[in-house]
């Protein structure tokens, strides 16, 4: 087909400027990756057991003593990998939800999935007796059947996901109706949790509430593996959809005009970001604000281009969670705060600050 406008032959200024712009974003991604790696190293080094960095390195590479081996490989590494994976997953889930729900405030907790997981954990702890208090030193509250708790939390959260998708289907996936359904589900599961706790003995309530604080130390290698596979698979899928998300950011009609099957893209985006949420919340408990902070910070720096926004959000999420976890371990050391508390305590004000300080374009 002949074209009325020539491909630009002169004045390639625009293309060069575009390349500069892209290079900047690429460099930013590299910088974030380096930062993530350094933070991960710091995290492996931080802890109550004093092991010097050389020793840590030696242990990671296969040498080192048995005690160091256990501390590093059984305790610290699963925790660091959890932080990397959950941070990246929750942050990208937030990014995708903000896109598919056309709502800058959408995040993994918007759709009631976390409330559903909490409800499931409460059932396991209170109704099925999976939690009790250990009076020994160490954890003041402990859950004696973490496996059952995780499974119940996961079943409930996936239930919530299915309900949402079903309701959404009925209303043709209008983003408003999905957000409203999420609000409704949140309050229903919240009410269920309250009822359960009302009739439960104090000890079990304590265990249930303890579960709610997100905690990276909870995951063992098996769980870390399940989480990693899920998150990695979803992230790769999301990355392949990046042009579709870019089109959808311009509104549904424009996206359809560009050949995007908006409903299908929305459906899979929602399903997989909910899956990430369900898995991480079930394994680690509630970790708030990552899905809001990660993508929102990055969107302000690199704009609404999902080619870069998705990897940048992933790295930002990992960085935030690693930093929060390190903080959680040093603030009242040797005691450790649950990381969910740290992200909420710092995330809320930080988010407010971001909103007040400036909106580059729209939020």
């Amino acid at each position: 087909m002949s074209q009325g406008y020539k491909a630009a032959s002169s004045g390639l200024g625009g293309i060069e400027a575009y390349h500069r712009h892209i290079r900047f974003k690429g460099l930013l991604l590299c910088a974030l990756a380096v930062l993530t790696f350094l933070l991960a190293l710091i995290c492996v080094n931080a802890g109550t057991a004093k092991i010097n960095p050389m020793q840590v390195l030696k242990t990671i590479l296969g040498g080192g003593g048995e005690k160091d081996y256990i501390v590093i490989w059984r305790i610290r590494m699963p925790r660091v990998v959890s932080a990397l994976v959950a941070g990246a997953g929750l942050s990208v889930a937030g990014c995708v939800m903000q896109n598919t729900l056309k709502n800058p405030l959408a995040s993994p907790s918007t759709l009631g999935i976390s409330s559903a997981a909490t409800f499931g954990a409460n059932i396991a702890i209170i109704a099925f007796g999976a939690g009790t208090i250990l009076s020994t030193a160490g954890d003041p509250v402990s859950i004696n059947n973490p496996y059952l708790v995780t499974v119940c939390a996961f079943i409930c959260s996936m239930g919530a996901v299915l309900i949402i998708l079903f309701l959404a289907r009925l209303r043709g996936f209008s983003p408003e109706s999905i957000v409203l359904a999420g609000v409704a589900l949140s309050s229903i599961f919240g009410a269920g949790t309250t009822l359960l706790q009302y009739f439960a003995p104090d000890i079990l309530i304590a265990a249930a509430i303890f579960w709610t604080f997100g905690d990276l130390a909870r995951a063992s290698w098996n769980e870390v593996l399940i989480m990693s596979v899920t998150v990695a698979g979803c992230l790769i899928f999301f990355f392949f959809q990046r042009w579709n998300y870019n089109a959808l950011s311009n509104g549904e009609e424009t996206a359809k005009g560009l050949g995007v099957n908006a409903q299908r893209v929305r459906f899979w985006g929602l399903l997989l970001s909910s899956l990430i949420t369900a898995v991480t919340v079930s394994f680690l408990g509630m970790i708030g604000f990552i899905g809001l902070l990660g993508p929102q910070i990055m969107r302000r720096i690199i704009g609404d281009d999902h080619r870069f926004l998705i990897p940048a959000s992933a790295l930002a999420g990992s960085i935030i969670l690693l930093a929060a976890d390190t903080l959680a371990r040093v603030v009242i050391s040797p005691a450790v705060l649950p990381v969910g508390a740290v992200t909420s305590v710092f995330g809320g004000p930080m988010f407010l600050y971001m909103l007040i300080r400036g909106r580059r374009g729209r939020a």
């Binding site: 009325g4 020539k6 630009a8 004045g11 625009g14 400027a17 359809k256 560009l258 050949g259 580059r360």
Partner: protein
Amino acid sequence: MKLEVQGLCFGYSGRRVLNNISFSVASGDCAAILGTNGVGKSTLLKCLNRILRCQEGRICIGGADIRGLDGNELARRIGYVAQTSRFADTTVFDAVLLGRKPYIKWDATRRDLELAQGVLERLSLSEYAMRSVNELSGGEMQKVAIARALAQQPDVLLFDEPTSNLDLKNQLEVIRIIREIVRESDMAAIVTMHDLNLALRFAGKFIMLRNGEIYAAGGPEILTAESIRDVYGVDVAIEAYGGSKVVIPR
């Protein structure tokens, strides 16, 4: 390449808006869809582009039924510019480059970039290339939306009130550019317009809608005082001015 519409019917949840619409547009044509507000002009454009799926009838482009085409394939043949466009928070260049999406496999190629740049130059937008789209004025945004559709290189371009946000100079410039491109590159353009005089300057073919049906279709000769009274319910005088018609409301 020809766009053919046969017996198209469409209704929103049961309420019929369009009834038995048939017309065709060939390459090089500029067609204007005319009618009062709410008659279904925008709805018709969206049906042509499968944004809305028509309940009855056939729409064929180049002989192929659009129901059988996949999204990208359809987008390579038909481009659409909505009445008001919302933009993601990107640069103007990125916004226009997105028009290449139906062709992009993994990432934009050199040629995609050159086409985007070419369209920007054509619409005198190149100085804005690296500015944020959402910092532009309404009219400039409209031009960016048009640039994106042109970068899409479709065979048929659909514009929903393309000039409604533009000042007089830009209205004339935009319709001139659309006309030139349509003529040079053998595309077809279908435009909804409410300004009859602008439509007369722009189009060679007119489709007048009334009550969801085609009242009249054809060349400028169908725009008469009588047909305008029937379609818009206003009395007008039609004068000849410099070789073309001018509609003057009484």
